[in-house]
Assembly symmetry: C2
Homo-oligomer: 146 residues x 2
């Protein structure tokens, strides 16, 4: 069944990994998996590597040429398809490279993922301003009265 | 480390769920999660629902307007980032709707997923002809001598 925007955003925010689709100037789609943190209608993720290497990543080039992105979080469970749910966030992405822009998002990521505490991500932050949250759950959202 | 095309395809083929990015005529990216089966350089997945409803799915409309797709399989493990790997398959997608076109792909899907045996997918099959397999594994591919 379809989820409300609020249900969708909450399920999305609590997940651990997301898949983001971008499009190049040539119209070719590209898809990557990444960790992320949500704040309001923003999704943040960061490239691990140092700027010199990471600014040439395809996702960064694509976003600079074509800001529209689509980000999906889902729960696929091979032993129980009735537990499947997904949430899609569509919006526009921005690449943040200045220290003062990166600080808050990197703080959110470090708070969510203990793995980042010793080695915070060093590359650019990708910030997605979500225009539309949509979602679906086979059995309805966890926690909604049935 | 980077994987060879053969290593990438083998890891991909044995995974249980994939994420596919498509692009609409308006240039907007779209991303979905799906089960799949691999045969050679082809990836097949099928829409569950009956044709009438499913032929209006966004992924189907996108592929008809813009065949280029990007499909990702990955292993994200929240408790051990060193086990991360991903494989990306880039290629062109086709929508198969005739019974004689659907039969072999649906057979492959039913062989891979016991869940389909009672309820085979009834909608169109999406066939992706892969032009490029690329992949990366934090610790090298499972099975490669270190």
């Amino acid at each position: 069944m379809d989820l409300s925007a609020d249900e969708a955003r909450e399920l999305f925010a609590n997940a651990r990994a997301a898949h983001m689709a971008t499009v190049g100037a040539d119209g070719q789609p590209h898809v990557v998996v990444h960790t992320f943190a949500v704040s309001g209608d923003w999704i943040f993720h960061a490239v691990d590597h140092k700027p010199k290497r990471s600014t040439n990543l395809k996702r960064i080039r694509n976003i600079r040429e074509h800001p529209a992105v689509s980000v999906l979080v889902d729960q696929y469970n091979d032993s129980d398809w009735e537990r499947l749910w997904w949430v899609r966030a569509d919006g526009d992405a921005y690449v943040l490279e200045l220290d003062e822009e990166r600080a808050d998002p990197v703080g959110l990521l470090t708070a969510k993922y203990p793995q980042y505490r010793e080695h915070p991500p060093e590359g650019p932050v990708i910030a997605v301003q979500v225009k539309r949250w949509t979602g679906w759950a086979y059995s309805g959202p966890p926690g909604r009265p049935t």
